[in-house]
Assembly symmetry: C2
Homo-oligomer: 284 residues x 2
């Protein structure tokens, strides 16, 4: 297990916010992540964990500074884990050419196409290696109670990792998720670049496809702002997720359309209380 370096420890909302770095065996790069440990958590009374996956262009810092999830996680006694959105500094050709592919845009899948397949393994990193590192290093966190959430690309990540790994997470939530990436420009570009042109492969990483095979209630909360330009541009397609779940007879999916809200952290922070309360129902 690689050692974890602590870059900063900050007291906030009664808990500790840690800015951390470790050498990832999965991505082959150093990876930054932030961890909030709520007040009262200890090895004898470990806190449940909510993983939050960020959207395109983000590092762990954006949600740390602008998400305000700690305000609600602290009083509830829930830990928060903020991974990065891609490997960094691989020097692959074109890595930094676009905001929606390469650096900052790992899409929480394991690339199978060269040259990305060596480092861009964000599915394995986020669902396997990083939690293992966290549970090994921080005994204040309870590995048996984990939920997952995310925003935009990270909403896609949260929904698909949840649907791919039944039982691994207690509940899921998403703000403005890319809900049907095989039918949206962002998803098509990413899947083509990381996975190639076999569209049957793409379906394995699409929440609106994966939901068809779900058994039991989804324990899912989704918020979308009606003033969100990416929603208007059909990048998110939450209606397709709703229809797929309904057609498949899958319940427990609440999708809310929030009047006038945009795609920003002003939207995320406005509904953080509701998302933490949603997860608390399943984690506490």
């Amino acid at each position: 297990m690689a050692a974890v370096t602590t870059n900063a420890t900050i007291v906030t909302f009664g808990g500790r916010l840690l800015k951390l770095t470790h050498q990832s065996a999965t991505t082959g790069t150093p990876m930054n992540f932030n961890l909030f440990i709520p007040p009262g958590a200890s090895s004898s009374k470990p806190a449940p964990l909510l993983i939050y996956l960020s959207g395109l262009t983000c590092t762990p810092e954006n949600v740390t500074e602008k998400g305000f999830l700690t305000a609600h996680a602290g009083p509830l006694g829930i830990a928060l884990l903020y991974p990065d959105t891609s490997p960094r500094g691989t020097d692959l050709p074109g890595e930094n050419d676009a905001y929606d592919f390469g650096s900052g845009a790992g899409f929480y899948i394991d690339a199978t196409k060269e040259p990305w397949s060596k480092n861009y393994k964000m599915e394995s990193y986020v669902s396997k290696e990083l939690p293992s590192v966290v549970f090994n290093e921080f005994k204040e966190i309870d590995s048996s109670r984990v939920s997952i959430s995310g925003h935009s690309m990270g909403g896609h990540g949260a929904l698909t990792l949840y649907l791919k790994n039944p039982g691994a997470y207690k509940s899921v939530s998403a703000w403005a998720p890319i809900s049907n990436p095989i039918n949206a420009p962002w998803g098509q570009k990413a899947f083509s670049g990381y996975l190639g042109e076999d569209k049957e492969e793409w379906k394995k990483h699409d929440a609106s496809e994966l939901v068809k095979g779900w058994k039991g209630p989804l324990n899912a909360l989704v918020d979308v702002g009606t003033g969100d330009n990416f929603y208007k541009q059909s990048q998110l397609l939450p209606e397709n997720l709703e229809k797929a779940a309904k057609d498949a007879g899958v319940g427990g999916l609440e999708v809310r359309y929030q009047d006038g809200y945009d795609h920003s952290y002003f939207f995320i922070s406005s509904f953080g209380a509701d998302h933490l309360k949603h997860h608390a129902k399943f984690l506490l």
Copy 2:
């Protein structure tokens, strides 16, 4: 009355966050400010206003993105006004040479020393012109119910404007305020540069001096983090304010020392709920 330009309108916490610019007659420059109008506010049911003055180097954006005062102001029905911390772009020699003098460091006083005296009139701007512009343009705000708060240099600003203008504000609060600037390096540098070397003049802009003349209860809440490096470096000196108030028999000042908290927005946001509740007692 100069027109106000709206640069952005954002829905957050049920209200509207406006990013605004106007041409200030006081500073002679364009000035940015942000305004949060809570849900339910209207010309027939105007909301009370809390002014928040930012610290060194900040623009109105910092607290807007990282302060999360809106999370508490929205449900309470309190409007928020975030002014800038100095004139910008005056091209005065040295304006941008230091983080603690000139641009981003107006100290909420009216400079009397050349060349700063022409533009650096942040006391008049924040206490007179800007509220007048806001009340004229936004009838959803109640000019008869106003309180004031701030952080660090802005905490100095909030305390001194409150103490200089009895009756103008219903209550005051500050996070990590520069409480006795005439005895602190930041204050001494600023007052020397803006006001000259007459230390009797400096006292007119020092909360620990001004509090001696206060009549009645202070209605004041102050938070300071014990992990704040500027507190440790004796830039803030809240104990001097406490002692001065006590010696003068002035009550209604609650100073809290928060264990381990630093000087950052992680500290400000952690105690935003308490500060909004404090002001709500006097505004609602």
